[in-house]
Structure formats: structure tokens, C-alpha cells
Amino acid sequence: MKAARHALLLIAGLLLVACAHAADAAATSSAVPWWVWPLGLFIACFLMGIVAVPAGIGGGTLFVPIVGSFFPFHLDFVRGAGLLVALASALSAGPMLLRSGLGSLRLALPLAVLASASSIGGALLGLAMPAQLVQMLLGAVVLGIVVLMFTSKKSEFPQVDQPDAVAQALALHGVFLDGASQRAVRWQVHRSVPGLLVFLAIGVLAGMFGIGAGWANVPALNLLMGAPLKVAAGTSSVVLSLVDSSAAWVYINKGAVLPMIAVPSVVGMMLGARIGARLLNVLKGSVIRRLVIAVLLFAGTRALLKGLGVWP
């Protein structure tokens, strides 16, 4: 346990050192051999993947602020790759989550239709805006995520006495086997209309910044609509797999997806996430969460200052 904690501290330290070193090297990116960047990206994403799972945050949320702030790639390509990182992770996890009932297709589909449509608008808006403005807004959003991670409460099994009319008409309910208690848990949701509107806004953010929106999906499903926490996390992944598909096409069509940036990122993040999932029961979630908050705080501040031209 103690060794694992030390290992994690080392990983977080490495991540910060790698970021700071990358920021220095980024200034003279043309002088560095080309293969250093994809290799560095792979290592950074591998480390991000390890900490992302135990911290309960999507790898895509870490990817854009960190890579956008500390690597030499233009933010257009970082967002394109970020969407693919989030998409590939969501697609890989989706089948298992759906089979176990932790992800509900019935709950995900209506939300995904609206969020997918708005994510196209978000992606177009993000690609049309000046990079500095996007960088600044990204910094503000990331700092907002930090605040949300600090303050947001969670409810394992929210009380939903009565589903609303929309939830009733669309039969937005289900059942899953809770591994901890070994009992079948039935659930239903309420406040569907506010939930749909919130997902409309989440789609814009996902498309604009290329960040996976699990940080927003889970509270919206859990605290607003009343889905159990595990169902909220699983369904968020299914929603992401659909929303990021639409937004990713906008970036592909605009030519903003470079395989040399996207592929090492996807592979590194997925390999790291496998290790992170294995460490889930060994590491203390609250410690990792605090470390991830520290990294995000650093990356968010850097993005904001970069956008403001204070820290180029």
C-alpha cells in the first residue's frame, strides 16, 4: 500500500516535471528531432491514463489542458486528438458497461441526440475562434472543473419517488447488479427536461474544447436526474461515445486530426488506463484525486495565462 502510494507520487511528480520540461522544449520545437514529441506524448498520456481512472476523471479531461499547455502542437490538433482520446476510451469501456447494466442505453440515447447535435456547433465554434480566446476559455473551464471536483457532492442512490412525464413516457428506468452489495438495484430518473437542456450545453463544451465531458455528465445524471452514481458514471461513458463521434467528424473534416499526435495519445492513454484500473483497489482514491486536482490547477492556470499572453 505504502509502496503503491510512493509510486503514485512519483508518477504525479514525473507528470509535472515532464510538463515543465515539455514547456521549455516546446519553445524550440523545430530544433528537437520529430520522434521526441510523439514519444513524449505517449509517455505523458500513459501517466495520465494511470492517474485518470483512480481519480474518477476521464483521460480526455486531463489531455487537452496538459498537452495544449505544455506541448508545441497547435490547439486545433490537440483538441482533435483530445476528442479521439475520449472517444476511444468511451468506446472501449462501453460494451462492458452496457452488458453489466452500469451503462443504460435507454437513458443515454435521448441525452446523446441533443448533446451530439450541439457538440457539432461547439466544434465549429471552437475551430472558428482565435486560438488565444479558446486557450483562455479552456483555462477558465479547467479551473471550473477543479472547483467542481472540490465542491461537488455525490449521492450513491438518490431518492427518486416519482419519474417525471418524459421519463415515464420514454421508460427511462433500469436495473443493475451492485457488485458491493450483490443485490439487483432498480432505478428511475426525474427532472428529464432540465437534464436534456444541461446535456445540450455539455455538448457545446465537449465539441469546443475536445475534452471528454464526464466531469459534467456524471453530476448531471446523478445529482440532477437522480440516477445512481454507478449508473451515472457508466451511462456518461455511453453518452460520450456518441457525442464525441459527432464532434470528432467535424475535426476530421476540417483536417484537424493528425495521426502522429492522435495515435500515440490514444494508445498511451488506453495502456495507462489498464494499469490505473488494476491499481484501483490498491491506491487511495482521495489522494489521487488531490494530485489530479493539483495537476489540473497547474494546467488550467497555464492555459489561462497562455491565453492572456502572460505566460506564452
Binding site: 520529430w34 514529441w37 479521439l84 442505453l105 476530421i252
Partner: protein, 140 residues
């Protein structure tokens, strides 16, 4: 008394979606990895030489396209034999895999009289196809 696992059986459409998604993702990832390996190992000629990338990826996408003559929209299909462009094939499979999964659900929902969800599936397919077509993003 029933086993809790028997009580938590998932609907058939959810299981079908999971199976199709599983296969779509696997195929996409395999194509992505193989094409990237061919690219970095130099087995296929690149549209943009890898050595030039550090001086190019610092630019906004519009400038990058000007400097490299890289295609937008579906123009990449004509250059798919080039190592760097071939990587987009795996990416396109990953980004498009949900379309087939959703279409596979429509007959299930329709035969059960669940027309609302059949329509929702078709609406999501339409959204992804509009995004993929490049009509809105002006990629064509």
C-alpha cells in the same frame, strides 16, 4: 428465491448494441495500430514527411493545410495509400462505429412497437451522418 444476477438481466437491444460496439471498436483500433505502424516504420510513403512535422504542427489547421496541401472533408480517401493519411481510416472507423450499432437496434425497437426509440436511434444516426458528411463544417 431468484439469483440477483437473474433479476439484473439487460434488455436485448442493449446487449445487441454492446456486441456491435465491441466489434466496431476492435476493428477500428486494429486498423489504427497497423496503419500507424506502417507509417512510422516508413513502409508507406507519407504525404507530409515526418521530419517536417515539428515546423508544421505549431500552425493553426488552416495554415497547416495551406503549407502541406493536405485534403479536407473526405478528400483523404483518395490519398489513403499514403502512410500518414492511412491513419485516418482507423479513426474514421472508430468515429463511425456507432452508426451501424444504432441502425442494428431500429428493427428491434420497431418490432416491439417502441417507435419513439426507433426514431431516437435514427435521429442520432442522422446527426452523426450530417457531421461526417462535412456539409455543416464545409469540409467538402
Amino acid at each position: 428465491m431468484k439469483n440477483p444476477g437473474d433479476l439484473a438481466v439487460q434488455p436485448p437491444e442493449q446487449m445487441r448494441y454492446a456486441t456491435w460496439l465491441d466489434w466496431g471498436t476492435r476493428v477500428g483500433l486494429v486498423v489504427l495500430l497497423l496503419s500507424f505502424a506502417a507509417y512510422v516504420l516508413g513502409l508507406a510513403q507519407s504525404h507530409v514527411p515526418v521530419s517536417r512535422l515539428p515546423e508544421l504542427w505549431i500552425h493553426p489547421v488552416g495554415r497547416f493545410l495551406e503549407l502541406t496541401g493536405s485534403p479536407t472533408g473526405w478528400g483523404w480517401l483518395a490519398l489513403v495509400h499514403r502512410g500518414d493519411i492511412a491513419g485516418l481510416l482507423g479513426i474514421a472507423i472508430l468515429a463511425g462505429s456507432s452508426v451501424l450499432c444504432l441502425l442494428a437496434l431500429v428493427p428491434l425497437y420497431w418490432s416491439r412497437g417502441d417507435k419513439a426509440f426507433a426514431a431516437i436511434c435514427l435521429a442520432e444516426v442522422a446527426v452523426v451522418l450530417v457531421a461526417a458528411s462535412g456539409w455543416i463544417s464545409g469540409g467538402h
